[in-house]
């Protein structure tokens, strides 16, 4: 497994004070918090910083980590030396929350688990599990799933891989891949949650299983943009179509339709196709935004036509600017 340089992750020197480490953590946690940051790798970075802080904030763990030596480089192949932790007692070290969410139990890296994992898990497990007569409802599981706009338009069946942490009898955490086939209901919107009853983590004793919550997120679409149930489309039109009016074909998420555009349509004007967005109560609308596309003047014939227009039309597009 790879060695992790927790000082590098936190951006602090090896001799940083506990206060400096705390300040660095607070700053990085705010920056990379997955609920706050828009950065794609925010969640990963956040977990990394949390793990580093978990070790460095606890003087005992920090001392133990330090004694591995300063010569290790991040990413270097690493195996914990035998009895490296002799004389340390981590189980009482007190682990902060944030990772205790059930779904996040596998959040720490293998590197961390190999050093500090064992004591933590067994300490956390104390008194649970095998004792007779103990029943508890399983915890709920949360996951984000990516779907396409078309799935929301028509409804669909999609398969998702979920990583589910499992704790074995020795207290080791392994992640298991679980594949689910789920009906995506027609009309679902970005950010909505689908609840699958009884598909969360199993309960203890006779306790019921928890529920699985899927948060819906849309893949970016190549031509449409989505806002709630409304869909937006940029539609290029030829100058003569805009000037003279025309009946043209327009793609919609449910298939192409014919649309009339009025004579004198201007660049950027918006047409609403009622009910052509994502279905629902009420259904969303499709907004078509006109963009006038100019034919390139690359041939002599095209150049002549532009010149004719210039001579025939007394047109100053900058008249409104006073020049």
């Amino acid at each position: 497994m790879e060695f992790k340089d927790y000082y590098e992750v936190m951006g602090v020197k090896r001799d940083a004070t506990q206060d400096e480490i705390k300040r660095a953590y607070r700053k990085l946690a705010r920056k990379y918090h997955p609920d706050v940051s828009k950065q794609a790798d925010a969640e990963e970075r956040f977990k990394e910083v949390g793990e580093a802080y978990e070790v460095l904030k606890d003087p005992e763990k920090r001392t133990a980590y330090d004694q591995l030596g300063a010569n290790w480089k991040a990413g270097q192949d690493f195996n914990a030396p035998p009895d490296w932790d002799a004389g340390f007692e981590f189980s009482g070290g007190g682990y902060t929350g944030g990772f205790g969410d059930g779904a996040d139990a596998g959040a720490y890296s293998d590197f961390f688990e190999s050093l500090f994992g064992q004591g933590f898990r067994t300490a956390g497990q104390g008194g649970y599990g095998t004792q007779g007569g103990f029943h508890a409802r399983g915890s709920d599981h949360h996951a984000k799933v990516l779907i396409d706009l078309e799935d929301a338009m028509n409804g669909a069946t999609r398969s998702f891989g979920l990583r589910v942490p499992e704790v074995d009898a020795q207290g080791h955490v392994t992640t298991k891949e679980r594949v689910l086939k789920v009906n995506i209901p027609r009309g679902v919107k970005q950010g909505q949650h689908i609840r699958l009853a009884g598909q969360g983590n199993p309960g203890m004793g006779e306790g019921k299983a928890g529920d699985l919550y899927l948060e819906i997120e849309f893949n970016p679409h190549s031509i449409y943009r989505v806002d709630g149930r409304d869909v937006y489309l940029d539609l290029p039109v030829a100058p003569w179509e805009a000037a003279l009016g025309a009946s043209i074909k327009v793609p919609t998420p449910a298939g192409a339709v014919d649309m009339k555009i009025k004579a004198g349509t201007t660049n950027g004007s918006k047409l609403r196709l009622k009910g052509r967005g994502i279905p629902g109560k009420p259904a969303g609308d499709l907004y078509v935004i006109m963009g006038i596309a100019l034919p390139a003047a690359t041939t002599d014939k095209a150049k002549d036509i532009y010149k004719d227009m210039q001579q025939a039309l007394d047109f100053n597009p900058r008249a409104g600017l006073g020049v």
Partner: protein, 108 residues
Amino acid sequence: MVTQLTDIMSGIILEEEARLSLRELCDACAVHAEFIIELVDEGVIEPTGFDKSHWCFSGVSLHRIRTAKHLQQDLGINLAGVALALDLIEEVQLLHTQLQRLSGPEHE
């Protein structure tokens, strides 16, 4: 290890169909009822129903409570700060969506 499930599962869309009781919400967010009551007092979530035993929450509350819990645990923010952060995060998201809508997919 991969477990292949062949059954196709159907769920309900929380935001539209679900009305959650205080108990269900506690389970779904893995928090104590006291935390949810504090969030109601802070105005972060608004249940319908005249007293705690009849409180009914919309699915939107679920997302807010989970975010509130994370912000409190991970960043050490008090509830008033959490409430402010939630409002600001939602406003940023709204602006982000509007920006995307206006600027087109190529500017994402």
